[in-house]
């Protein structure tokens, strides 16, 4: 079974709409990382969260880590076609021991 549950698997939104992707673990995480994979490319680092309750933003993307450090959400405001791709969460389930979620495929329709 996946140590990190990522949802939804796939998401199709209209341009301009907001969306949220979730990443959940049954264990307390030592660090949580969000990546994006653009079509035909490798991983692009988005954000790293380490403290319970931490929230970070970059342009129109905001990521939060809950107080228990077991769940993170990635929120995109006013989505654009450039946001399309696969979003992947990675987390340290033990110190320096990273595992990955299954990914969320985002399609943004113009």
């Amino acid at each position: 079974s996946q140590e990190l549950e990522q949802s939804p698997q796939s998401l199709i939104v209209q341009e301009g709409k907001n969306l949220t992707i979730n990443c959940t673990s049954s264990k307390t995480l030592y660090g949580l990382y969000w990546y994006k994979q653009k079509y035909g490319e490798g991983l692009i680092f988005l954000m790293m969260l380490q403290k319970g309750g931490e929230e970070k933003s970059h342009e129109k993307i905001t990521a939060k880590l809950d107080e228990k450090k077991q769940q993170s959400s990635l929120h995109i405001t006013a989505s654009q076609p450039s946001h399309a791709g696969i979003y992947l969460c990675g987390a340290d389930i033990l110190p320096h021991d990273m595992r990955f979620g299954a990914g969320t495929r985002l399609t943004v329709k113009p």
């Binding site: 660090g31 990546y35 994979q37 079509y39 991983l43 680092f45 696969i86 320096h96 495929r105």
Partner: protein
Amino acid sequence: EAGVTQFPSHSVIEKGQTVTLRCDPISGHDNLYWYRRVMGKEIKFLLHFVKESKQDESGMPNNRFLAERTGGTYSTLKVQPAELEDSGVYFCASSQDWNDRLNTGELFFGEGSRLTVL
């Protein structure tokens, strides 16, 4: 179906020695990526193979690192000579051909090879 496998899972060597990491991608995956994670930081890209060709090796830190993918199947990443700062976890990932619309194209990761240089 077997996933991406990496070997060894953990290697401890002394500064100046050589280490070779191996990655077996999922069968049929043309794309193979190497990433490195140092001391709890984010993963950083090293290079990308498409079949046996190096598509992008802009992330390779220096000429002590040599990656090969003979025959377009498994890949090796050799570090020679190893330095202390090379310690970290080396991840390999593979994906299908993005140009084929029938394929999903997502990255599948191995569990990583942890390298400790003393």
